[in-house]
Homo-oligomer: 144 residues x 2
Amino acid sequence: MPFVDNIGFLMSRASGQLVRATNAALAEHGLRVRQYSVLCLACESVEGLSQRDLAGVLALDPSQVVTLVDELARVGWVERRPSPADRRTKLVVPTDLGREVRERAAVRAEAGLAAALGPLSPDERAALRSLLARVVALDVSATT
Amino acid sequence: MPFVDNIGFLMSRASGQLVRATNAALAEHGLRVRQYSVLCLACESVEGLSQRDLAGVLALDPSQVVTLVDELARVGWVERRPSPADRRTKLVVPTDLGREVRERAAVRAEAGLAAALGPLSPDERAALRSLLARVVALDVSATT
DNA sequence: TATTGTTATACTCTATAACTATA
DNA sequence: TATAGTTATAGAGTATAACAATA
């Protein structure tokens, strides 16, 4: 099988395309996809997530999460709150402004992603999502 | 739909896993996946590919290809040959040693990739490949 | 004038290691 | 002793711009 049909190569190219399309769509909102992912997860949580939880869900190193939260906090879209249960832990919670930004950004991000997925039917997108989820579920490094 | 089910996010995580698994498998052969892709394409071509062709197929900037070919040439696995047709063009061709390395590396790379794709059946892998190929085919930036 | 290969630069992402404060 | 967050650093990947040789 020729190299251009290698699943790893195709995955890497496709991933790059989706990231670029999403970043382009998010640019007008002052976001990149990494910061956006943190903002989304913070908005979805009820009590806020610890940075450790964020690192686990996103499969990032905790030190990377620090930077992402710093950037979102600097513009006032999330804030760090002390955890009532553990004084080491900081909960990342969205501000009201952060929720608004996230809502507007989500519309553009979805549109950008949809365009990058092109002619795939809804069923095909669901199939792709399901296959990807099964690959991701294998990740051994993610200790969460 | 929660962020963790976002296709872009899942694709990005899955891509990272496949790249890491492949790099780990290739490490004992002194290769990383980017260099390996150039070596594979050079081995598959009959007359050698120009660096421009390589950049087009791999969706990389021509300046990135320079670095990759430099590294493979330094260890004697490929060489640059002048094109008979165009004196600006350099054809990248594998050496005999390069072909041997590629053959051995391919075995390990395939095994590493297969492990990273885990429980996906052959049919599911084919379906994944096909879906990815259709997404990649959309890439507007690839002028090839 | 346009294209191939090249050099240079800057920014993002990835990967580790070490430190602090708490547990 | 282990964990959450933080700082620091180095390497790999991505994105542009400019230049020389050639078409």
